[in-house]
Amino acid sequence: MNATAKAMSEPVAEYAIRTSKLNLWYGTFQALFDVDLNICNGMITSLIGPSGCGKSTLLRSVNRINERLGYVRIEGNIDVMDKNIYDPDVELVQVRKQIGMVFQRPNPLPISIRDNILFGHRIHNKDLKSSKSDQNEIVESALKQVLLWDKVKDRLNQKGTELSLEEQQKLCIARLLPVKPSVLLMDEPCSALDPKGTAAVEELIWELRGEYTILIVTHNMAQARRASEECIFMLMGKVVEHQATEDLFVTPEQKETADYIEGRYG
């Protein structure tokens, strides 16, 4: 519903993320080869492939964390909402605001649940003094979106680090929402969780589709199949196949894809 409201007020890019001729080197090692991708706006797209295939590298170049390493060199474009985020006039802080990231290990800050949610909001709205009731609203709406509100509403002053892993991961997703990002990147968001937690977080990710474009790296093919609408298979730094998830798993076009999803390697 929110997505349609957005669509009516402003023209929305068909593709949230587009890469063209993306090549990436760690020092002299080339990790990505001519990656051309169009990732649909408002959809959940999963990235699968064996370890070392470049899926995490690709994910991490979409919010420019890779460059923190210092020895990374990138050629080509990554357009997010039709703007190349590697252009010189792009402000990194705005990139990080528009493109949220969720990590493998939940990393809530050692402050209260409430402050965790408000952290990003406070950083990006320094001059706008928001009232206590505004803040309460932000906290409530973010926690409701991640299906955590009912569990923690009576203990918002508890430290975020004291929650269970599943709740921590939900909190980490929730704290991205108040600054209204357009893209959420998730790097194996469930791999530190038990099956029950995994199911809960997958359910939540599914709930968020439409409102956010979600790109999710996973080792777990069942998860890619359950929790994504499109799926990209990568191998040795190249994109092998990009299809609707159901098609990719049922009728893969490439032999490598078929071999991988049938568990012949990876």
Partner: protein, 289 residues
């Protein structure tokens, strides 16, 4: 099948031998501490009183109290802290949070390590040259404190860096990926979690500074002064130097006086160490991640 073999017995015997050897070494370590404390209490305990702490020395320092020296030490330590803590903490934050691993930071690291290795008497002479003469502070609390500050700077930097390093990298990553700048990250997340460690380091530094003699005896501490310091440009007496003076330089001092001074000095140091340990335990207990 599971019976003890001759080899098992031999190995166990060797193992016991080493255990006892290392235990003895550990016990050996405690002996000097115990003897020092026991001697000080036995020989100097009798002189300790409120009067001793809060009156001036009399009769050419052979009687009376130690108030000017006690107060002087507090002055010197306080001013030294004011100089070294902001400088050291700032340097540590730069090195740990901003600087990359390049030739520049390596040179700074090397300088810090070397600074820590400079003998205190060399610091003293540097202090005379730099602060007393070049900057024209004269022999004063300021010159003495700055000399001490430079001497303790490496300790502050190293202990602050340790505390900063103890803050998990994941917290920084979390902030950066929400678009926080380095400074926002440091102020909102890193420092609040490192402050306990930093304070502990600072208190330990204080306790070291309290006992230093060489760096202050040429730069600001006086043999005897009949008045209390009024500001940082005054000279002052100091406990450590006072101990040296009454123990070796003045004839006719009763036996229990120097021991009493030493006891006060060591009590100050131990008190501050205990505060620092208690503080650390308290803050660690509150920390959860």
């Amino acid at each position: 099948m599971f019976a003890e073999s001759a080899l098992n017995i031999r190995n166990k015997r060797v193992q016991n031998l080493f255990r006892i050897l290392f235990l003895m070494m550990t016990v050996l370590l405690i002996i000097p501490v115990v003897i020092i404390l026991a001697t000080l209490v036995a020989k100097g305990g009798s002189i300790i009183s409120i009067d001793f702490l809060f009156t001036d020395p009399t009769n050419g320092m052979t009687a009376g109290g130690i108030f000017p020296a006690l107060l002087g030490t507090v002055w010197i330590v306080a001013v030294a802290l004011l100089a070294s803590v902001p400088l050291g903490v700032a340097a540590a934050i730069y090195l740990n949070e901003y600087a990359g691993d390049n030739w520049f930071t390596r040179i700074i690291q090397l300088a810090i390590i070397n600074l820590a290795g400079v003998p205190s008497i060399v610091h003293a002479l540097f202090g005379v040259g730099a602060f007393v003469i070049f900057f024209g502070f004269g022999t004063s609390i300021l010159a003495a404190s700055l000399t001490l500050a430079i001497m303790t700077l490496p300790v502050v930097i190293v202990s602050t860096r340790e505390s900063l390093r103890a803050v998990p990298q994941a917290f920084r990553e979390a902030c950066w990926n929400m678009g926080a700048t380095r400074w926002q990250t440091i102020r909102r997340v890193v420092l609040p979690n490192a402050v306990s460690g930093i304070l502990t380091g600072v208190i330990l530094e204080v306790s070291r500074t309290t006992g230093e003699t060489a760096p202050i005896m040429f730069t600001g501490a006086a043999f005897f002064l009949p008045f209390l310091p009024q500001g940082v440009f005054d000279q002052t007496m100091a406990l450590s130097l006072h101990l040296f003076v009454v123990a070796t330089q003045v004839p006719g001092v009763p036996d229990n006086l120097p021991f009493g001074v030493a006891l006060v000095l060591i009590a100050m140091v131990l008190l501050m160490n205990s505060i620092s340990i208690a503080f650390r335990m308290y803050l660690r207990g509150k920390k959860k991640w």
